[in-house]
């Protein structure tokens, strides 16, 4: 299937240069000069990816992307802009108004590569079999209405933090689940108050935290509990390692990436119950087995695939989706999120290592190389860390 990409920019010269640059591309390209034209084009044509400028007269980029998201939820949205405001980029990614962000001026081949990355991930996320399986299964965790309401409140820029806190507090079960996640998955946050938790962490986290609290049901199952311990520890380690390597606070959109990276396993648990339990037992006894491969052999798909598809379906930011998809194969991740995928890859590895189980994740040299650290440096850094779960 040939992908169709629509470019929107009010500067005609930009469009012409893109057309030239992509003359040999293996996807179809179209060009329009305004948000209004883009909407009109979308009405009459099949578009898979829209690449839009931000600053445009009348209808600006974020307005256009918001409308596209509402009208054509399957169209993948990408921003191409000279406004290199980190905050805005993160905001767009977090609200899922953009799956990727390309800076102007872009580098040679950057357009093609980004679009290829998107196409590749999109193919995986649109695995028809898995989608069908998810749709037909009644054993999947469902998101409560409160989650939907909170998501709406978060997306509505005019809503107040207090409204959201009030809403969470109306359901004590959810509130206590959220607190459990907050208290175990973040360093330095220990609180019994939703308000303190939300104010400390910020709203960006909330969506992922609520999903986590919904998916990881408190159960007596050994593996499920172990998985929860592993996920919360991975999140803590992700934050620590990221901040150690980049010497800055982890961006909000990355701070919950560790929490949901293994959500596919929980899903497999819920759907296949004992069958998946068995698969895990085998893995526990034979650490050399690569779990995803045995999953694929038994269930036709891996926990990475099903996890990322579900997260994408729940409209989580592209960063979190990609971490779930590629955390075992960071070399396959898109350029956009390679940093966080590599960090979670390491955190995943160190988390299992510290939980003293026979589960072992494979660690790849490429991740250390990409992050420009050595294994020894990370070992040294983590030596004095406390891994309480």
């Amino acid at each position: 299937m040939e992908y169709s990409v629509l470019f929107v920019d009010d500067d005609k010269s930009i469009l012409k240069s893109i057309r030239r640059e992509l003359m040999d591309a293996d996807f179809e390209t179209s060009f329009v000069e305004s948000g209004e034209e883009a909407l009109k084009f979308l009405q009459d044509n099949k578009v898979d990816i829209i690449v839009s400028d931000m600053m445009m007269p009348n209808m600006d980029g974020s307005e256009l992307l918001k409308r596209v998201k509402g009208l054509y939820p399957d169209v993948v949205k990408v921003v191409l802009s000279g406004y290199a405001d980190q905050k805005m980029i993160f905001k767009l990614i977090n609200s899922n108004l953009a799956k990727a962000f390309i800076n102007k001026p872009w580098k040679e081949n950057e357009l093609t590569e980004t679009i290829h990355d998107i196409i590749e991930i999109n193919e995986k996320l649109n695995n028809v079999d898995i989608k069908e399986m998810i749709n037909s299964s009644n054993k999947l965790p469902t998101l409560s209405t409160i989650h939907t309401e909170i998501s709406l409140l978060i997306e509505d820029e005019s809503s107040e933090v207090d409204d959201i806190i009030k809403l969470i507090n109306t359901d004590q079960v959810i509130a206590s689940k959220i607190l459990r996640v907050v208290n175990s998955a973040f360093y330095g946050v220990k609180t019994a108050s939703i308000k303190t938790a939300v104010l400390n962490l910020g709203l960006t986290y909330l969506k992922a935290i609520i999903i986590t609290s919904q998916v990881f049901d408190l159960s007596n199952d050994f593996y499920e509990n172990l998985l929860w311990k592993h996920s919360s520890l991975t999140n803590k380690l992700t934050i620590s390692i990221y901040e150690y390597i980049y010497k800055k606070k982890i961006p909000d959109i990355y701070a919950t990436a560790g929490l949901l990276h293994d959500i596919g396993k929980v899903v497999l648990f819920k759907i296949f119950e004992g069958k998946y339990n068995k698969a895990l037992l085998i893995k526990e006894d034979n650490p050399e087995i690569i779990l995803s491969i045995s999953e694929k052999n038994t269930f036709n798909f891996s926990h990475e695939e099903i996890g990322s598809i579900l997260l994408n379906y729940w409209d989580l930011p592209a960063s979190i989706v990609e971490v779930a998809l590629n955390h075992h194969n960071p070399e396959k991740s898109s350029k956009q999120f390679k940093d966080i995928v590599c960090v979670v890859h390491l955190a995943d590895y160190y988390s299992w290592k510290n939980l003293n189980t026979n589960f072992r994740a494979e660690v790849k040299e490429e991740a250390f190389n990409y992050l420009e650290v050595t294994e020894n440096e990370i070992n040294e850094f983590l030596k004095n860390k406390i891994f309480e779960v």
């Binding site: 010269s13 930009i14 240069s17 445009m56 802009s81 001026p105 040679e108």
Partner: protein, 542 residues
């Protein structure tokens, strides 16, 4: 006969005297009085002129105030045993005591004393005496020669001498000779007209103190007496020192304030530049984006050309080697390569690629030039020749991106002479006012939710008027509320949300235009309609 009346100076106008001749008529019953002499005070007390006193009988005059007086006088004259008598009467608000004395059978003296005023005066004099005695000022009386002939109590207290000792001194004994002193002669010459001067006096214990002297000379028989009021001004001196110190402090505080103001102005400048840098980056990023992209495409074109040309050359080689049979096969290959490389498309596109790239490079060049002239003027900070129209054009290139999405800009630039100004500061004012205008438009569009319906408009006009170079910036933005229009030049006044406006822009513009350039800045605005800011800069400013 003539009788001289000598008034003592103190009594002055308070005691009047008149002499009357007694005229006895033949019937022995009627008596008349003829005025022989009356002094000014007498007239003053009675309130009549000398002529009236001479023409009208005294009795008639007095009878106006008290009718009984006719009889009283008659009885006194008739009674040979009485030499003097007295009576009281009120003349308007004055209380008068009258003394009558018979000189002989022919003359009678009438003395009128204003007793109320008189006693007040006596009282006052004693008050003054007390005042002098208790004065905290030193009072000295000296002769021409400088000999001290009188002093008050304060003098004894201040100098530490007894009265006897002090009255044996010459003024020179307590005067401390310092350079710049007036000589005693100079003082005495000047004192005739009254003199205030400063000096230093010494005490018995050898200590000295600064004094302020007010002296006046009074002529007396055989010379002059100088009265000096001498005041210890140590406190005053300290006060002045204090004041000087305070003044110094104020001056340095003012310096600091000026420094702070410069800092604030720089901060404001940085804030506006910061706001713009993102826009400028975008403005450069766009052309740079497509120029780079075109350049990369060009590299690709070249490789496509080379591979196509190579194919031709291969064929040529083959032909040269007489493989003529391969000709048609070779041509087919070439055609295929030619097609694959889209050589036709490339040829068609090359011209446009170059003209696009040229245009992009020119856009970048212009922005960089404007930035350079903007930043050059920012660095120098001195009064120099400045072309206002040029400044507006440069500022517009820089702010264009910040504002172009919300508003159109119209310029009506008249031909202007250059002015002598601090270019960077005028640029700052231009930047601030243009950005303000665009913000006002943005605010209106957001407030009334009229995005796409109404486009903002900024009109920039320059003109010459009364030796001033002027510009106005007019917008159709949100406008300023009536109650705020008087506050807009106040520092830190802002209606923008916290964190968005420093509240310094307009106050700094005011400072720059009004104080530094002696120009005028004026704002007219209607809420919801728009704002017009007019700035006038004098053409000749040193």
């Amino acid at each position: 006969m003539s009788i001289q009346i000598n008034n003592t100076p103190v009594e002055g106008l308070l005691m009047g005297t008149a002499v009357h001749k007694i005229i006895q008529f033949s019937n022995d019953i009627e008596i008349g009085f003829e005025c022989v002499n009356a002094d000014n005070a007498f007239q003053h007390i009675l309130g009549v002129s000398k002529e009236e006193i001479c023409e009208i009988s005294l009795i008639t005059l007095l009878a106006e105030f008290d009718a009984n007086l006719i009889g009283f006088y008659k009885d006194f004259v008739m009674n040979d045993e009485e030499v003097s008598t007295e009576f009281y009467l009120n003349i308007s608000d004055k209380q008068i005591k009258a003394n009558l004395m018979k000189i002989n059978k022919e003359y009678i003296i009438t003395q009128l004393i204003d007793i109320k005023t008189h006693s007040e005066l006596i009282n006052n004099i004693s008050k003054y005496e007390t005042l002098l005695k208790n004065s905290t000022d030193i009072i000295l009386a000296t002769k021409d020669s400088g000999e001290i002939i009188d002093c008050n109590e304060q003098a004894l207290k201040e100098y530490g001498y007894s009265r006897e000792e002090l009255l044996n001194f010459n003024i020179l004994d307590i005067r401390r000779s310092i350079p710049g002193n007036l000589t005693i002669e100079q003082i005495y010459i000047a004192v005739d007209k009254g003199l205030i001067f400063e000096d230093v006096h010494s005490r018995r214990d050898g200590t000295t103190f600064p004094v302020e002297i007010r002296a006046v000379g009074i002529e007396i028989e055989g010379g002059r007496i100088f009265y000096s009021i001498i005041r210890d001004i140590t406190k005053g001196k300290n006060l002045i020192e204090d004041l000087n110190k305070k003044n110094q402090e104020l001056v340095s505080a003012l310096d600091q304030l000026k420094e702070t103001q410069i800092q604030l102005m720089n901060e404001d400048k940085m804030a506006s530049i910061g706001k713009l840098s993102a826009g400028i980056a975008h403005e450069i990023n766009n052309p740079l984006g497509f120029v780079l992209s075109n350049f990369n495409t060009l590299k690709k074109y070249i490789s496509k050309f080379s591979s196509t040309i190579e194919a031709y050359r291969n064929l040529k080689t083959k032909l040269d080697n007489n493989y003529r049979t391969l000709l048609s096969q070779g041509l087919d290959e070439i055609e295929e390569i030619d097609k694959k490389n889209k050589i036709d498309y490339i040829f068609r596109d090359l011209e446009e690629l170059f003209s696009d790239t040229d245009e992009g490079l020119d856009r970048i060049r212009k922005i960089v030039l404007a930035l350079r002239s903007f930043s050059h003027e920012s660095i120098s900070g001195e009064f120099e020749e400045y072309d206002l129209n040029e400044g507006i054009k440069n500022t517009l290139i820089i702010v264009k991106n910040e504002i172009k999405y919300n508003c159109d800009i119209k310029t009506n630039l008249a031909s202007l002479p250059t002015i002598n100004v601090i270019g960077s500061e005028i640029n700052q004012v231009l930047l601030n006012t243009i950005i303000n205008a665009s913000h006002a438009i943005k605010e209106k569009i957001e407030k009334y939710n009229i995005k796409g319906e109404q486009h903002g408009e900024i009109i920039i006009t320059t003109y010459c008027e009364n030796n001033c170079v002027c510009f106005s910036i007019e917008d159709n933005g949100i406008g300023i509320a009536k109650e705020n229009i008087n506050k807009i030049f106040e520092p830190f006044f802002t209606t923008k949300p916290v964190g968005l406006g420093t509240g310094l822009g307009l106050s700094i513009s005011y400072e720059i235009i009004k104080n530094k350039h002696k120009g005028e800045i004026d704002i007219e605005s209607t809420l919801g309609v728009g704002t017009k800011i007019t700035i006038k800069l004098p053409q000749l400013l040193k």
